[in-house]
Amino acid sequence: MISDSSMPYSAPTLAPGADDDQLLHVSLGPQHPSTHGVFRMNVVLDGETVVSLKPVFGYLHRNHEKIAEGVTYLSSMPYTDRLDYICPLSNNWAYAHAVEKLAGIEVPERAEYMRVILAELTRLINHTAFMGFILGDMGAWGSALMYAFRERELILDLFEDLTGARMMANFMRFGGCRNDLPAGWAEKCSVLVDDYGPFLDEMEKFLVGNEILLARCQDVGQLPKETLINGGITGPMLRAAGVNYDIRKAEPYGIYERFSFRIPLGDKGDCYDRIMIRFLEMRESLKILRQALDQLPEGEYVNPKAKIRGFKPPVGEAYARIEGPKGELGFHLISDGTVNPYRYRVRPPSFINLTLLEDMCLGLDLADVVIILGSIDIVLGEVDR
């Protein structure tokens, strides 16, 4: 079912002479409870077994790139919030990082710390919500998601206090952040970080030994490492298969080289590993948060030389990426020296992680498709942009 020769590509076709009448064509989505939004798959089934699976995109294609090419650099910032709408602050950072690279803007130390704190809190939100959603995909719609969203609300309260919005933060600026931490924010965050460990313990107890989870996730959706790298898969998906590649370590951006943390790696790369990797990543995120909160320096929260209005980066191009919660989130910007970007491209991890969806699902049952899709952790705002 899965060829171990990773490189050559062959479009999966039905075996010649296969009796087409015996096959069932199912269109899964775009309105379907388990497709995480308006994703659609055209699945061909032989009994229960998947023989072909073609994803259909574009039901949430909101023309983000085209709109961004018509507005100023700053005006694109609130739009990046709406890419991966579960973790807006990572998107903010990725975009600010790309523009800073494009224009050569320095970021003050305090702003870097604030960014790390916010990005790691975002990772917590994303992975916690993922736990709820993957259980929902297995039919346990309710309790897991309730616990996940209960903790998510606590982090969102912090975000609201700092950025003014629960989700759509629009917080990062080129050369720093929009405003400083309000009084007492760091202490509140510190309390949350302390309380999050016990919550993770509880969540792990709740999920890890669960027979349904074990039965449905183990040995589902593995692919060889080389295939995954060749398919552009990044993030927890790749690390679950045992590839030690995390941009925070491989190409440290911001100030990540100052923190001590480890990169959790899986061994098999099945859906179970992907869930466990996210648990371990949350624990590492808590470590980073603890260190960042302890070391948080005083100082400027934004580069005073950075301009808000009339910002024009020099002619050139830049590609910058960060380790988003879902994988490598990159921005490719081309400037022609005017106030609008000439080309604005998002490298969406959710979209590219779907490249190998068909390979993972072939030969498995339809019910496994839902788990595999859930374990990829897509957000449609980012898939279709």
Partner: protein, 199 residues
């Protein structure tokens, strides 16, 4: 870590003497220079980079529309000993490669189509990198670059009946302007077009 693009270029020249590869410098402060690769040798160059220089992760594929070739040359400035600038506009595909084992990147490659019309062709690299599959389909959909050799070149984001390539700079959106109480700039232009008699 940033990539040593000179060494990569030398390696390509040594291994593939026939390949047309030229260095283009980036005038901006990002220090990301690129290699302009001829279409006929693009797949070979990428395969060489993957197999011999360990650039195993094709992270990003961007399409760019350049109706004005002078602008393209301003962003990717000529290296030494390259032929003259183009006369017509063209479509460009930019590849960003990384190495997961050596942890370097990005290595930026560019490929350009002959024009923006019928010959807007660039060879597909799906046979070397699977990750290009959906991204090339997206560029075909939004820019109209025809990737020769792509196994499944269909529209991906827009519906199949759609005929335009909306990310091109000269794309005109359909006139679905109506009730926009706060018009200015482009919307105002659209408003005037929509209500010609009244304005």
């Amino acid at each position: 870590m940033s990539v040593d693009i000179g060494a990569a270029l030398q390696g390509i020249h040594a291994a593939l003497p026939a390949a047309k590869v030229a260095m283009r410098t980036n005038p901006g402060p990002s220090n990301q220079h690129s290699l302009l690769v001829g279409n006929e040798s693009l797949v070979d160059v990428l395969r060489f980079l993957r197999d011999h220089l360990d650039f195993d992760l094709l992270s990003n594929v961007s399409g760019v529309d350049w109706p004005d070739p002078a602008k393209a040359d301003a962003v990717a400035v000529f290296g030494e000993g390259e032929e003259t600038a183009r006369e017509h506009g063209f479509l460009e595909v930019v590849y960003h490669l990384y190495s997961t084992s050596r942890r370097v990147g990005p290595l930026v490659l560019r490929a350009r189509s002959a024009d923006r019309g019928e010959n807007a062709c660039v060879p597909s690299v799906v046979s070397v990198f699977r990750s290009a599959e959906f991204q090339e389909r997206e560029i075909f959909d939004l820019y109209g670059v025809i990737f020769t050799g792509h196994p499944d070149l269909r529209r991906i984001l827009m519906w199949d009946e759609f005929v335009d390539h909306p990310m091109r700079k000269d794309y005109v959106a359909p006139d679905d302007y109506e009730y926009e109480p706060t018009p200015h700039d482009d919307v105002l232009v659209k408003a005037k077009r929509h209500y010609p008699a009244e304005s």
